[in-house]
């Protein structure tokens, strides 16, 4: 398997997308001055990780891993791996908590200092 093979590159496009998204998120976190934008960057990274995990669990032509009814034809069925999706449900909840916490911090900081500019705020610290 050659990493420069066009089929390899195109066949794994979902992984490439998640890498690009992680880079965009990282750039946003570092380059943007606004505290909320910084956290949006982190949210982009987290979303890219969800995409990455869901891609891991997917199987070409696989169906949702739900137990079929009694007597249904099951022999030829191909299932996606349910574990990464289950893990991501947990991770989504965790990210949601972090986002809520960060936004409430940002609201309080704005009330106190009247700005969300990281450069000016870090001088206060």
């Amino acid at each position: 398997m050659n990493a420069l093979d066009p089929d390899f590159i195109l066949g794994h496009y979902n992984y490439w997308v998640s890498i690009v998204l992680i880079m965009i998120g990282l750039y946003t976190m570092i380059a943007k001055k606004n505290l909320i934008k910084k956290f949006i960057g982190l949210n982009i990274i987290e979303t890219a990780i969800f995409l990455f995990y869901i891609s891991l669990g997917d199987v070409d032509g696989g169906v949702a891993p739900i137990l079929p009814k009694e007597g249904a034809e099951t022999g030829a069925m191909l299932y996606a791996n349910p574990l990464p999706s289950a893990m991501m449900l947990t991770a989504i909840v965790v990210t949601l908590c972090m986002t809520a916490l960060a936004l409430s911090f940002a609201v309080l900081i704005y009330r106190r200092y009247g700005t969300l500019d990281a450069g000016r705020l870090m001088e206060e610290l």
Binding site: E46, F105, L108, L125
Partner: protein
């Protein structure tokens, strides 16, 4: 029906977490009962940790499958010697912190009492979980629970500076968590399992895969933010300086839990594969540890705020533990684990003493220590005992653990790291002797007499100070508990 003692590993984790759910509900109606619930929960937790440690010391490691589903499918908790001893340490220190907390509450405002106890209980439960879990994704979730509790504890005052320190911690910590999550994914696709022991069995065959190496690097980088390893320690000084003073105490425990996760990552998951020298991991970690020791100590020397100084000192001590872990010899690992215990006891003593000084005398800066030994002799005595252990003056607890790590470095032929530890001891002595000189040999300029405060504050400080010294005399007691842990971890083939 199995006896309740079979469920000890999960009880140790769930008792504080369940109490953390109850406290906000009760706290709305009856503000005063919250403290009782917290003390009761942590006491029961301490009893469970004691029973668990007793069981582990007699019968060996205990494995516990959640919901009774065996490892490849289910989540496994393993209480080995390391986990059990750390769990005992965590519940004991949390109990001390919660008892001490009464002194801080008036300073913090009555309204925050319930939130404070809830967050501490949540942090305690998550920390216990991190030292006991044997499942990589479970580890991630527990680290996040701990992180949310810690961010709350840092910013609980909700004044400007503590919020900024909290936000800084939150950004760095969340980025670290994201790295841990990606790393977990990489190892999961490579091995098809999340159980650390099973991963350790599968990895030697595929250790040369870039996916595995990248996953490992991401996990180490992510954990570094959690344990405050240089250069990712930058959240620590701000968080410690502006948070209420119990936060650094709980944070000291959280850092130790992160270090346990690092030990498991290096030895349980990658241990068997490291024998082939596929990864230059030991040398990288040792270098990071040594750099952390030197730079954090030099920066600590320049601090005028006592809490910032202690935070940088913690950064240096983390470096020492990482150095001990990286040496991959039984002496090094034992030294690292012993240093986790001695440093926790001594540093918690220092933080609590610093808090007592802040509440009773309003002391924040090193300059204010002038003549303090005459006015608050007992608190200052406790502070000095803790400082002696942190410096590593012979016969104290810190001395014994530093000697173990230095010995291991010499044993591994890395004299330079033994030199680093010696240099570090000198630097630490410098910044604590500055305080000793001001406190014991300079006259006070204060107009009014200072009061030592409530007896339980003094008692806790003196008790922790004495414990940090006595650990040096009775070093065999923790060592006997730790030694089997080092043997098991290294038995993996390193």
């Amino acid at each position: 029906m199995t006896p309740i003692t079979d469920h000890l590993p999960i009880l140790v984790v769930m008792i504080p977490v369940i109490a953390a759910y109850i406290t906000p509900l009760v706290g709305i109606l009856l503000d005063r009962t919250v403290k009782g619930i917290a003390v009761a929960a942590v006491s029961v937790n301490l009893a469970c940790s004691l029973l668990l440690t007793h069981r582990v010391l007699i019968h060996g490691p205990v494995s516990y499958n959640l919901s009774g589903v065996a490892p490849p499918l289910g989540i496994e908790f393993v209480a080995d010697h390391l986990g059990a001893v750390l769990s005992l340490l965590i519940s004991a220190i949390t109990l001390i912190a919660i008892i001490y907390l009464q002194a801080t509450i008036p300073d913090l405002g009555r309204k925050k009492t319930t939130i404070f106890y809830t967050l501490i209980l949540l942090a305690a439960g998550a920390t216990q979980g991190i030292v006991l879990t044997n499942d990589l994704f479970n580890l991630f979730v527990l680290i996040e629970i701990l992180a949310i509790a810690m961010y709350g504890l840092v910013a609980i005052r909700a004044d400007g500076k503590s919020l900024l320190a909290g936000y800084k911690y939150l950004l760095i910590g969340s980025a670290g968590s994201a790295l841990i999550l990606i790393g977990t994914g990489f190892l999961f696709i490579s091995t098809g399992t999340l159980n650390m022991t099973l991963m350790g069995e599968i990895l030697p065959d595929i250790i040369h895969s870039w996916t595995v190496l990248a996953g490992f690097a991401l996990l180490i980088a992510g954990l570094s933010t959690k344990i405050g390893l240089f250069p990712l320690h930058i959240w620590m000084p701000d968080a410690y300086a502006h948070a209420p003073s119990i936060t650094p105490v709980i944070s000291t425990l959280a850092l130790k839990a992160g270090l346990v996760a690092l030990i498991r990552l290096v030895y349980v998951i990658f241990g068997p594969s490291l024998s082939g020298e596929a990864v230059p991991l030991p040398s990288v970690l040792a270098l990071l540890g040594a750099v952390a020791i030197v730079i954090c100590s030099i920066v600590a020397l320049q601090q005028s705020d006592i809490r910032r100084m202690l935070a940088y000192s913690t950064g240096a001590n983390t470096g020492c533990i990482v150095l001990g872990i990286s040496l991959a010899t039984s002496t090094g690992l034992e030294g690292a684990m012993l240093h986790m215990i001695t440093h926790t006891v001594a540093k918690v003593c220092l933080f609590i003493a610093a808090d007592a000084l802040l509440i009773q005398a309003g002391i924040r800066m090193v300059e204010d220590f002038r003549g303090l030994a005459d006015e608050m002799p007992y608190t200052m005595a406790g502070f000095s005992l803790g400082a002696i252990s942190i410096i590593g003056i012979p016969l104290s607890g810190g001395f014994m653990s530093k000697i173990y790590v230095a010995n291991a470095a010499i044993g591994a032929g890395l004299l330079i790291y033994a030199g680093v530890i010696l240099f570090w001891t000198l630097l630490t002595a410098l910044y604590f002797f500055r305080i000793f000189r001001l406190a014991y040999f300079e006259p006070s300029h204060r107009k009014h007499r200072l009061d030592e405060g409530k007896w339980h504050m003094i008692l806790i400080v003196l008790l922790l100070g004495a414990a940090s010294i006595l650990l040096g005399f009775f070093v065999e007691i923790p060592m006997e508990m730790i030694r089997p842990a080092a043997d098991t971890l290294l038995g993996g083939g390193l």
